[in-house]
Amino acid sequence: MATSSSRPYQGKTRYGAPNHEGRIWLFMRLTGLVMFITVVFHLLYMHMAVGVENITFDNIDARWSGPAGVFWRLFDASLLFIGMAHGMNGVRFSINDYVHNKILNFLLTAAVYGLGLFLILLGSLAIVLGAGGLGNLFQRLTG
């Protein structure tokens, strides 16, 4: 679109196949739409319906147990994975906006992604092993 036409945008421009950043643009919108449902539900349910004071170890254990527990673990995993992917990308946008030194930009982005992947690993361990699962595993390992 390197024309100097003064005609206003007609809304009929045909674009080619999206490039990498184009796909990330779509990814941010799709994950945003999904999280508008899941994260807002999680926030309002935990803060208004249940109340943060009432979220106890036994409640989490019960919620993560049985057949319904599989659903809630998958729901919590979706919050972890989608939230972190969307958030890491948002931090990358911010780094690209403010840090123009190529080496510093690369180091910061690598640090954010490294920390993000490490935290996704921690969160996944908690969800897979369940409430108390980490303590039980630790006790078994130490005899």
Binding site: R29, L33, H47, F57, G90, Y98, V99, L115, G135, F138
Partner: protein
Amino acid sequence: MAALVASIYRGISYRGAEGQWAWILHRASGLGIVLFLYMHIVSIFIAAIGPGPYAWVHATLYTSPPAKVLEVFLLFGVLYHAFNGMRIIIIDFFPALGKYQRTIVRIELVLVVVVLVPAAIITLRGIF
């Protein structure tokens, strides 16, 4: 660093009205939510060890009075980021609505306040 300071200064001094402020708040709330997420994941990992660590995490990081005050900022950040994100998506896919973007920002802020106020009252009820 100079680019960051210059960008923040331009962000505040540029008189871009609703759209500019909506963008600044979207970025600030997004980065704030990421910081909360880091804390949230590490604290859940610690809490998942067993009932003892859970009780400590729950008492200090989630239900102490300072935590309840920060929780209101979290509620605002998440609700604003969610509603503003929906506005961005709507205007991206229906560019003709860009004509009414100032009105849409104001409608969005009303929606955020309508959800935030009862949530904040429930959150702060315990400490006053």
